[in-house]
Each structure stands twice: as C-alpha cells, then as structure tokens.
Symmetry: C2
Subunit: 332 residues, 2 copies
C-alpha cells in the first residue's frame, strides 16, 4: 500500500500538508484537500477514517477493455469515476464481466445480491445478454458508448464524435488535403456508426468528395486497417482518419511498409489518444477523449440517476491533439 510520503512526493508538498488534507484540517484550502484525497485514491492509500465510513456501493463492470495499467484505455476512466464517487461517499468495486457471467446470472440479481445501488458499464457489446436487461432494469446504470432507448433508469455517456471528426477534417483542409478517407472500427458498433455519420456530415459540410468506398469498416485493432490502405491510396486518398488509435498505428505500419513517408506523403489521424499514441513514429495526431473526465462524467450521470434526475445522455467535448503524423499535402 502507498504511504503518506508517496502522496507527498507525487504532489511535491510536505508530509504534514498531506496529513492535514487527509484529516480535513481547516488551515489548508478545499481545493488542495481534494487534490490530496484524489491522489490518495489514485495511489491506493486509505486511512482508518476513509475505510470506516458507511458507504453506498457502486459497481464498475468492464468487458472488452483493458484497465490494469495506466497506459491502458480503461485505467483513467475508472480512476476518474472513483475519485468523484469518493467525494460523495460511495464505495466502488471493479468487476470484470464475461459472456459466461452474463449467461449464468441476471444483471438485476447480480446487483441486488451484492448490494450495489448503481452500475457503470464499460466495453459492453451489442450482443451481450445484459445489454437487453439494461433495457428493462430499474437499477440506475450508466453505459459508456452504448445507448439504451427509453429506459429512464439508464444513461449513456461518451465523447462527441461529430465535433471531433469535424475538428480533424478542418485541420486536414488547412493543410491542403481534400481526399480524406475513414478507416472505421467494427460494423454494428454504435461508436463506428456515429463516427461514420460524423465523417459524412463533415465532408458534406465542407464540400469534399466521399463515397461508400472511402469509409470502409474494419475492426478496432491495428491489423484490420491494412487491407484497406492500398485500396484507398489507389483512389487518391492523401489523409486517413481512423476509428481509433490502434487502427491508425496499423495504417502507419502499412504505409511505411509501402515506402510512403508520414506525413511527407500521407497524413494519419487517430481517435482516443491512448498513452502509446504520443510515442509512435511519427507521434500520432489524434482526437483525444479525456478519460479521467469520462470517468467523472460517468459518476455525475450515475449519481443524477440515483437522485431521480433522469439523464438520457451526456457527451464530452473532444480535443484535437496535433502531433507529427499530419502535414501539408504533398506537392505533385
């Protein structure tokens, strides 16, 4: 377990100040106290006082998403959620979910049996058994990137794909590109459909050419991109938008294999800004999802549902992070 000194070192403050923050002393600011508590939760430090509080229990279900280490997509989402939940006196459990668990136990039963008053569901797929059960459950739940119709107990949170994709396309237009393709994630995923529609809307708004062939579906993994790269290049595409950063890394690999320079010959933009994206060669220009904020927003939305404020959806702003994988249109 982390020590008070670990917290002090992380924040660059004295051990006695950390101690004041943990004990709620009145001579440090509320903002600093929250920062100390946030860091304590991040590092896994707990005081007897923290452990002794009577807490209502929330559950984060995780499927198809890695979260154990800070460079994995789910880690900061869970951290942001836990930090916000702690402030409102909720305890949080993280439960990996498999199709097997979903087929052996009903969602409502699982929640009631374990005394959870709300759930935050990450990475569920449309065909998951619990997805249908979310549709008729009256237990408050928030789903990342999945929308459940007409159930006032269930909310959806995510990042606004429309603004993100438009920001990326405007950036490419500023660099002189007009032939822009989208190598998307899996067909049938809500997020893929959203990013596809965002691409259509933005290309249309800017008067740029596109067709069914310039926006193929793939999967959310690097290798899925490769079969599409050659075809899109042959159509004159000079810039690739990608359904996520992993697809973008596959596009960079494939272009490099074909002897193309990035961004000299081709520009590439990802989506998500996972930690590895800044370390790619070249570093990836990408549409950032703020994962700590997603976690916090997941908690705010869940806490609203618990308080009978029936939020249907909450979307965060994306942010375009410009790095080395985009550059001016090559002169012919």
């Amino acid at each position: 377990m982390a020590t008070i000194k670990d917290i002090a070192d992380r924040l660059g403050i004295s051990v006695s100040t950390v101690s004041k923050g943990l004990n709620g002393a009145s001579d440090i600011s509320e903002a600093l106290r929250q920062t100390v508590l946030d860091t304590a939760i991040e590092l896994g430090y707990t005081t007897k006082q923290m452990r002794g509080r009577v807490q209502r229990k929330l559950c984060i279900f995780v499927e198809n998403m890695e979260y154990e280490t800070p460079d994995q997509f789910g880690c900061d989402i869970i951290l942001g959620f836990r930090q916000s939940a702690y402030r409102e006196d909720f305890g949080v459990s993280v439960v990996p979910v498999t199709p097997l668990l979903q087929s052996t136990e009903k969602y409502d039963t699982y929640m009631l049996k374990n005394g959870y008053v709300g759930a935050f569901a990450l990475g569920f797929a449309l065909q998951d058994e619990w997805m249908e059960q979310f549709g008729c459950s009256s237990i408050p739940a928030v789903l990342l990137d999945n929308y459940i119709k007409k159930n006032p107990s269930v909310g959806y949170i995510g990042t606004d794909s429309f603004e993100g994709i438009d920001d990326a396309i405007v950036h490419l237009i500023d660099l002189g590109h007009s032939r822009i393709g989208l190598i998307n994630g899996s067909q049938g995923s809500m997020i893929s459909d959203q990013r596809r529609q965002a691409y259509i809307d933005s290309m249309t708004a800017h008067g740029l050419p596109f067709s069914e062939d310039t926006m193929p579906y793939g999967y959310f993994v690097p290798d899925a991109a490769k079969p599409h790269v050659d075809n899109l290049l042959s159509m004159g595409i000079t810039a690739f938008l990608c359904g996520n950063d992993l697809i973008a890394s596959g596009v960079i690999d494939e272009c490099t294999r074909l002897g193309l320079r990035i961004p000299g010959d081709v520009s590439v933009i990802g989506f998500d800004d996972i930690p590895v994206s800044a370390k790619l060669d070249p570093p990836l220009t990408t549409i950032r999802q703020d994962r700590i904020a997603l976690g916090k927003c997941g908690f705010y939305t869940l806490n609203s549902l618990i308080n009978h404020v029936s939020i249907s959806r909450t979307l965060l702003r994306p942010e375009l992070i410009v790095r080395g994988s985009t550059g001016p249109l090559p002169t012919p």
Copy 2:
C-alpha cells in the same frame, strides 16, 4: 420569510425534526435532511448558519421566459438549480436579461464585475448578442436548449425531443391514427428544428406519410396554431402534435370553434406539460419535460464545467403524459 413551522407543515413532520434537519443533527437520515433543506430553499427560509457560509456565486440569466409563479415554465427549473447548488455551497442570483443589457455590457465583463463563477442561461434567442459571446468565453456556462459549438467551457442541456416525439407517435399509432401532423414552434429555433427532425425520423421509422405541408412552423404561442389547423384537417390529418403546450391549447380552441370534438374527432398532443395543461378542456396529453430535473441537471453540468469536466451536452428523458385530448381514431 417562511418559518420553521411552514416547512414542517409542508412536509408533514414535526418542528423539532425540521430543526434537526436545518442544524445537521446526526439522528435524522441524510435523505430527510436534504428534503428539509430543499424545502427551506423552496420556501425561502434561511438560517443564520445558511446565510453565514462563504459561497461561490452563480448566476441564472433569464430571457423570454416567465418564472415568478409556480405555474410558469421557468419557476421549477430555477428551483431545481438552486436546490442542487445549495448542496455544493454555491449562492445563486437570478438576473432577468434584456437585449438592452446585452448591448450595453459584454457577458464576460458582467460576470467578472459581479464575481460570478458560472452561468445558467434560460430562454436566449439565437440573435441575442451574448449568444455569440458564449462562443468564445472561458467562463463556465450552461445553456438550456441552445448549443454552442466547440467551446469547451459551455454546455447545453435539454430534453430529448427524439424519444418524446416517438413516444407520442407510438401512442397515436396504438389508437389507430396514421395521418399525424406537427404544428411546430418558430422557424430558426434549435428546439423547433430538433422536434421537426424527430417527427421526420419517427414518421419514417413507422412508415407513415408526411410532407413539408404536414409539418408547418408557427410560433410558440396559441394563436400561431390557428391558421394551420384548417389546412391540415383538409389534408386528412386526424392527430396534431404540437411544438409546445401553448400551441396545443390553440389547436384545441380552433378545433372546438370548427365544431370538432376532442378526442372524438381529432386528437391533440402538446410538449412540455406546463401546469395549466392538466386543466385544459379536455386535459392535454403531452410530452413532459421534468423542470425540476432540468434545473438540477443544469447545475450538475455547470458544476462539472467548473471542475474542468468539459460536458458538451446533457439530455433528459421525456415522459409521455396521457390525458383526455387523445383517443381512438374516429370510425368513418
């Protein structure tokens, strides 16, 4: 000013229990304490302790919306916001806004001069001067029913028109209707555009006929409906969706004047569920916006922005309230 007894009477509990709630005694539940505080705020009761707290200040700007009495649209929105804000130690001012104020003082200047750390803006029109200034301000603000593109400091909240309109159309289909018209609010309002698109989407999804002529724009007032009623009836329309409850009341008046029975000959559905809707003759079937929840949601979203969680939009679930203005399709 209200007294402790007023609070006790409202809640049906003893004066001593109210007193415990106001003073944070440990032998009443947290939920009851919150209810007591909420009611104190609703009735305008404050203790010395409540007045003495150092509070950050928020501002609710109101334009084109009445809010002074409980039967007016804005009243409960403001109440829900104040109740939530109080829990987080914010003070709230309500400021009526005119075009004159907006042209004499810049939004940012007004906020800074008065020490407000965030704003909740109700009823602004697209052509308002401050609307453009919201686009580039870095002060956290939340707008009801108005969306500001690409500014991470400004969020939008509202009620999901798409689910609401679809619920209403499904209800009419269940009653046997298929010729359904939409008498909308003002052209150029974001909400009118949203409800129009929702009508188009839902009619398309259910395979029902519609055209430009079945979805005329009007204004958000009763008299605006009248010119359209005769024309829609002549096209065979048997059920009217309306852009809000005021338009619906105008449709009921006009149909009655034409000698038609509601719901015997024609069905009518409003949007909002303002308090007077239940008292119309017949009582109005309508798509409810939960105004207390809108206010709370406005605060949650604003508080998130203040805490650097950049929420772009938050939508609430609507609820179809079935009353006497809808009935089975008349048999020919």
